[in-house]
């Protein structure tokens, strides 16, 4: 056990920090074109697709180097690159499960953000029970025709391509009749509509597919293997960014502490109020535990081990913590915490949130409600932990056998 960073990692961190100091965009990023340009700068510096194989334009870097870049970006409050799902989910899926032709065709353009991607998984009636999805892909000989509706599609409005799960066989149990495809979003049969969330913003979309076309060559893996592929895909979302996430929490925390120096109650600053101090102490203790846990996960990744179901523990832990953090911050800030506009500077949150550019406590608070739902709700994570880590018996379910209908 040695929790010091190696001299190489310290030197690498220094070089990333210096690069960010010189290259951080001076002006706020407002347009997609700005963000693409920033994305390309990051890619050219070698900071995107770092863990991907070199033959597809990646950097072949160690997990610790990737974590350091993400961490330094969080520390500098650097804008996120675009194409997060392409980098985080689609690319790794194609690398593991795709054909050589698919790798050749798609991977480099994900890295350079020439093509932006979304993920077409959830449906109105297939949320936690994702395998109940009904969007159908029918074999037409030389291509598939897709009909159905997807929802909670992040970045759908800008996406050129989507990673699609669709049903190709209704006569087998539901987990076995799903196939994975790469589908062009730029075609007449695909209609994307922004979905307005409780934040007032629209990071998510609904996607309607009416006789949309998918080429045979864009099927990923074998027919009926889609569910298994999606299981590995969901795992990619967990673990790697956990250190950077904690650094973002820490920046937010220091903004909160500064606000408590300013706000007064009974004639003294809130930071001298023992109740407020207990809340601040509770947040920091939990935040540090998240950091220690992130270092544990990184140790596994560095050794080439996949956290597997352990990723569910990571996701459950940080997403539930984030809600508690934001609730305590709201208690401390009172109505200042709810301001979406017009907040005096000392009560503003000048830290980007998950999706980029909504630096208010109000947005961070509302957004924290999403984390325990997306990418497998807390309840689903607890099922995974119970069954796959603790080996508890599966519940009796009506849908494990028989045809899908």
């Amino acid at each position: 056990m040695d929790l010091n960073y190696t001299p190489e990692d310290v030197a690498f961190r220094k070089s990333v920090r210096a690069w960010l100091e010189h290259n951080l965009p001076r002006l706020p990023i407002r347009t997609l074109a700005d963000r693409r340009q920033w994305h390309r700068r990051l890619y050219e510096a070698g900071y995107l697709g770092m863990g991907w194989p070199r033959e597809y334009g990646g950097g072949g870097a160690r997990p610790m180097e990737q974590a350091i870049v993400a961490d330094e970006m969080a520390r500098a409050n650097a804008p996120a690159p675009t194409n997060g799902l392409g980098l985080g989910i689609v690319g790794p899926t194609v690398i593991v499960h795709g054909s050589d032709a698919q790798k050749e065709r798609y991977l480099k353009k994900i890295l350079t953000a020439e093509e932006l991607w979304c993920q077409l998984y959830s449906e109105p009636n297939a949320g936690s029970d994702l395998a109940a999805l009904k969007t159908a892909a029918v074999d037409q000989g030389d291509h598939f025709v897709v009909n159905g509706q997807k929802i909670w599609t992040s970045g759908g409005a800008n996406a050129d391509w989507g990673l699609l799960l669709a049903r190709t066989d209704t006569k087998v149990p539901k987990h076995k009749g799903i196939t994975c495809f790469l589908m062009s979003m730029r075609q007449p049969g695909v209609d994307v509509r922004p979905l307005k969330q409780i934040t007032g913003s629209s990071e998510f979309c609904e996607v309607f597919m009416t006789n949309a076309r998918v080429e045979k060559s864009d099927q990923v893996g074998k027919l009926g293997e889609g569910w298994a592929i999606a299981q590995t895909t969901l795992g990619y979302e967990r673990g790697g960014r956990s250190l950077a996430r904690v650094t973002t929490y820490a920046s937010q925390y220091h903004h909160l502490v500064n606000a408590t120096r300013r706000l007064k109650r009974h004639g003294r600053p809130l930071i001298d109020d023992p109740i407020v101090r207990q809340k601040l102490g509770r947040i920091w203790a939990e935040l540090e535990v998240e950091r220690y846990s992130a270092l544990r996960v990184l140790t596994l990744l560095e050794r080439g081990e996949h956290p597997g179901a352990g990723g569910s523990l990571t996701k459950l832990s940080y997403s539930e913590f984030e809600k508690r953090f934001m609730e305590l911050a709201q208690e401390i800030l009172g109505p200042y915490g709810q301001l979406t506009d017009g907040a005096p500077p000392e009560y503003q949150l000048q830290v980007d949130t998950a999706v980029g550019d909504h630096g208010t406590w109000a947005y961070a608070f509302l957004w924290s409600r999403a984390g325990t739902i997306y990418a497998g709700s807390s309840e689903i994570q607890k099922n995974v932990i119970g069954e796959r880590i603790l080996g508890l018996p599966k519940e009796t379910r009506a849908d494990r056998t028989g045809a899908t209908r």
Partner: protein, 373 residues
Amino acid sequence: MNFSFSDDQVLLRNSVRAALDVQCTSAHVRAMMDDGTGYGEALWGEMAKLGWLGLPFAEEYGGAGLGLVELCLVLEEMGRAAYPGPYVSSVVLGGLGLVLGGTAAQKERWLSAIASGTARLSAALVEESLDWDPASTATTATRTADGWRLSGVKRFVPWAHVADAVLVPARAPEGVSLFLVDPRAPGVSLAPMVGIDLANRWSEMTLRDVVVTADAVVGPPAGAGSLLESLLRRAAVCASAEMLGAARRCLDMSVAYAKVREQFGQPIGSFQAIRHKCAEMLLGVENAHAAVYYAAWALNAGAEDAAVAASVCKAYVSETARRVCGEAIQAHGGIGFTWEYDLHLYFKRAKALEPLFGDAEYHRELIVRHVTA
């Protein structure tokens, strides 16, 4: 960066577990709960032979020269077994107290005796006010011709009734000093304070004009504050390791029970109400593991954030262990509430350690002092 145990550390943990599985069964724990002294000499002698009693001491004192991470590995196993005996009081409170501040002669006299199992120590770190800040010490020390005279009342002194020497903080006119006191010396009286964890013993220790010689002073005279703070940090992390062990035992028992106990025609572990509870318990235990071993490493390595890591650890683990052990009783239902079933041994161990060396509230305040300094 490597947050995992070395092969040697895994070996140590396995050997401690194997030994305790055989020699510290719940039958042994229950026998000691009814025993006058409260611990078994045979197991104590075995622990000396296995090198556990001198684990963190230098080899010149008969120790193994290992660090806090290894000490916490041993303590986690002891929590898992609800080990009854003066291990923490002797090795951590007394032993590490002398390692941190003892003179060469004091170390010579006591450390090898602790390591060989012939002496037991303790420390009296809290008084009526339950304030763990050394500055709150009210027990007085007045100078005599060739030493000191101590008066005051200490509470919750662990295993004082079997100790050969107790570290006692007392306030001299110049400041707080630390003294080695023989609990059998004239003027010292001990009264048992019987808590819910009967496998753990506390005493009230009253000092009335207790005379000690000048060479009984440990650490800088009138400046024992920072020595005591260092000791408290180590004690807090060691207690957390023991709570972690108790919590893991409760989790393991709950999961095993949920697989075999049937209601409504199926194992209760198949119900989400129980499965989700177990998942939350595991998350608490894994996070507590990270908190304990991060802090142990940080203190041992003298890392910049060692002090705050110790407080993060105690604040987090105090509450988490209590919650996990409590949920274990809930998951078991009625049988978990019986004296006959072993769950309460671990539940009570975690509860007994929760307020010691600063509870969660105390350490949250320390955290905020560090973070906003």
